[in-house]
């Protein structure tokens, strides 16, 4: 039976790991290659790097990080942040990324998703949806959460599936960094709408939040950063907890 995945995410800036609270107040906390190796040895089902300042500065540092990590970690590696073009995707894949996660570019120019999924296969194209609640709907944000596009997140999710995305990484901007749990409504609405896997992200503070993301949010995979990164829980503890709640995981 297919297992639900636990994906630790490392936010990377200038080649170093950081994790922000609501995308500000960054604290330096380690070498991404070593961190990724600790996670994969600890049973992480995938590793995700999010290059958080990629849109602005020192773009090339991430390639070096990806190249080094892919020689040490033999689980899938997803890389996101600052990806603008098919050529950027090509470069990351050549460095050893298995999947890329596209956010701003997918909103501004959905052709990038169409073209890249044709060229490299849907299996490596993840579309990252950053959404914030506004009244009774959710709207898409881009540029690391700075710009509100006003686009409806649920409709956009469907459009991305049709464009060739292989997975959706859905982050609640309201919850990100707050540790109060995923936005379950958002996750389950999108997951029910599309036939591709959804990865839930944004807001994990304890292991019950991971359980809720899968059971209530209907996510195929759960992504979290802080709870793993600062050692609150290990990936192994998370898996054992999910297992005890009847969720199929790889142990």
């Amino acid at each position: 039976m297919l297992k639900n995945r636990i994906i630790p995410c490392l936010d990377v800036k200038n080649g170093r790991v950081v994790k922000g609270i609501n995308f500000v107040d960054l604290q330096d906390a380690g070498d991404p290659v070593e961190q990724a190796k600790i996670y994969s040895d600890g049973g992480a089902d995938e590793i995700c790097f999010l290059d958080i300042t990629a849109s602005n500065e020192n773009r090339d540092t991430i390639y070096d990080v990806v190249e080094k990590t892919s020689k040490k970690c033999f689980v899938p590696l997803t890389v996101g942040g600052g990806i603008r073009s098919v050529e950027d995707i090509n470069k990351l894949l050549n460095c050893g990324a298995d999947k890329v996660s596209i956010n701003t570019a997918a909103v501004q120019n959905p052709e990038v998703v169409v073209e890249s999924s044709k060229k490299f296969g849907s299996q490596c194209i993840v579309v990252a949806i950053d959404a914030k609640k506004n009244g009774d709907k959710w709207e898409i944000f881009t540029h690391g959460g700075r710009n509100n596009t006003g686009i409806d997140a649920i409709e956009f999710a469907k459009k991305m599936e049709d464009s060739g995305a292989g997975e959706l990484l859905v982050t609640s901007m309201d919850r990100d960094g707050t540790q109060v749990g995923y936005d379950i409504d958002l996750m389950s609405k999108i997951s029910s709408m599309v036939n591709i896997p959804v990865i839930a992200s944004g807001g994990v503070g304890n292991l019950d939040h991971l359980v809720d993301g899968i059971k209530l949010g209907k996510a195929s995979a759960v992504l979290a950063a802080s709870i793993f990164h600062y050692g609150k829980y290990s990936v192994k503890e998370a898996k054992e907890y999910l297992d005890s709640k009847g969720i199929p995981v790889r142990i």
Binding site: V75, P197, S220, R250
Partner: protein, 208 residues
């Protein structure tokens, strides 16, 4: 010994290269090439494949003489060949992704879309699933039944002769996820992304 990973522009093969180099260390030479002479003279060949069945077959055919060379290597000379993901799927006679496309015809059968049972099963089948080993395969030496492997695919190979099937995995139905036919091996899952247990399969192939 020389192991050649066929580089025919089939998408992202860096993970395959990294994993084989990790396992081979300095004992085995890993070549990454589409050079026909190098393929002919190598001891073992790895045929990766990402993207669609059609795009991979088209990419193989684009390199003049490559299909003939692979036929000579695997069918006439019976040297060990490992197909991974679409690399395995191309062993079939025919594939139905994008459009009907002829495969290598090494294993009678077809490649068709996994039944999603009206959306009950999300596609692609992405993630870790257990393999059910149904016959002793040389590449499964030291691999326990029900081991987890990493999958990412929407299409499955359906061989006519079930005797070539070495493992299946449960997703919507019992999907064929590994084959062995004489010197020809294939995995639908990605050993290069399946952590230590996947590297063990690569090690087994290198040490055949």
């Amino acid at each position: 010994m020389n192991v050649t990973i066929v580089d025919y522009n089939s998408g992202n093969i860096s993970s395959v290269i990294n994993s084989f180099k990790e396992v081979a260390k300095d004992k085995v030479n890993i070549e990454v090439t589409s050079d026909l002479n190098k393929i002919k003279s190598s001891d073992k060949v790895v045929l990766p494949g990402q993207g669609s069945f059609k795009s991979c077959v088209d990419a193989l055919n684009k390199i003049s003489g490559l299909v003939d060379t692979l036929n000579e290597f695997a069918i006439n000379n019976k040297k060990p060949l490992l197909g991974i993901c679409v690399g395995l799927q191309m062993f079939a006679d025919i594939g139905y992704e994008e459009t009907e496309t002829k495969g290598l015809g090494w294993i009678s059968g077809k490649v068709s879309k996994i039944a999603n049972q009206n959306g009950k099963y999300k596609l692609p089948h992405i993630g870790w699933n257990q393999i059910n080993i149904v016959k002793d395969s040389k590449i499964f030496k030291g691999i326990e039944n029900n081991s987890h492997m990493y999958f990412v695919h929407s299409y499955e190979i359906v061989p006519e002769d079930k005797n070539v099937v070495s493992a299946t995995t449960d997703y919507s139905s019992n999907i064929v996820c590994s084959v062995e036919k004489e010197n020809i091996f294939g995995t639908q899952f990605h050993p290069e992304k399946s952590d230590k247990i996947g590297l063990k399969i690569i090690d087994n192939f290198i040490n055949l």
